[in-house]
């Protein structure tokens, strides 16, 4: 909740900046141990967060509007970031489905539709909840309708995890490619400054 409060504050106190693309955290947040998998039997654990920048987005495959546009915009933003930072600092994008019952068989295919380097994972409910909580994110599966279809509410922001495995920032919609890339480049400069101190 502290983070969400910070987001609101940032949005409320800087109305002049229409293009707020993210919020940097005051203090890095350690990530707990977690393990996800996908239909290719690949693993995504807290160990995979080390030694590179990672963008983690939560969503679900039956999401008609927000998820595909977020991933599409992230593809453009990451491509823009590639023009501003060293190749080994270009972030990896990981899509984590919070709806494993429907998505386990297609989550990688879904992510790679937006870019071949994107990765898609899902997993056990307790693992999802662990990462959701650690990143101060949110999701909720709604009650099924008469056809069995259910909707999922979820955080629209994207978690930015640094090469030391800690959460450093949240990206906010609309994920404008240029502004998001600028935000990520600034975040990386600040991170390197901190490391050299």
């Amino acid at each position: 909740m502290r983070l969400i409060a910070a987001v609101f504050t940032a949005l409320l106190t800087s109305p002049a900046i229409a293009q707020v693309q993210g919020v940097m955290l005051d203090e890095p947040v350690e990530m707990p141990a977690f393990a996800f998998t996908n239909e290719l039997n690949e693993e995504f654990t807290d160990q995979e967060l080390l030694n590179q920048w990672t963008l983690v987005m939560f969503g679900f495959l039956s999401c008609p509007d927000i998820c595909p546009f977020t991933l599409g915009n992230l593809e453009a933003a990451v491509s823009e970031t590639g023009m501003r930072v060293r190749p080994d600092n270009v972030p990896k994008v990981v899509f984590v489905s919070v709806d494993p019952d429907r998505d386990a068989e297609a989550v990688t295919d879904y992510a790679k539709f937006f870019h071949p380097d994107f990765e898609g994972f899902t997993g056990e409910r307790d693992q999802i909840d662990t990462l959701i909580e650690a990143t101060d994110s949110f999701y909720r599966l709604l009650k099924p309708d008469h056809t069995g279809y259910y909707e999922v509410q979820h955080s629209s922001s994207v978690s930015v995890i640094a090469p030391d495995g800690t959460l450093r920032a949240k990206l906010q919609p609309p994920f404008h490619p240029g502004a998001t890339a600028e935000f990520l480049a600034r975040l990386q400069i600040q991170y390197r400054k901190e490391l050299s101190q």
């Binding site: 008609p64 599409g72 297609a106 879904y110 509410q153």
Partner: protein, 145 residues
Amino acid sequence: MIRAALSLMFMPATLMAGEVTVEAPVVPLAPPGAVAHAAYFTLANTGDTPRQLIGVSAEGYMMAHIHRTEVSGDVAMMSSVDALEIPPGQSVVFAHGGLHVMLMRPTAPLEKGGQVELTLEFANGEAIPVSAIVVPFKDLQAHGS
């Protein structure tokens, strides 16, 4: 279509002038595994009476609904829209992050350049057929996201 023609025939002359046009109907190419995706367009009421969109159907889908994405704080959610008023002389935009037609459970995968046949149903009984073109996401983003 027969229903639309009949309703037009029996409508009073003032309503005949109430025209709704559908601009730029598109369906972004659905990613694999998506059992729901979206159609977008702009509805313009060029007539002089208010019009009410009350439903939508789509060929090749089990269901279609008028939906609105709402982002409250950090949380994205969707709500169903039962009726949508289009005042005379005004347009209503269906676009990412707001109104969209939710297309559920396609019977066949989409292909780039293909078409999705929609029917928009209005409170006055008129049904407007719409052919939405299937486009890659990149095309939509280039048009301003």
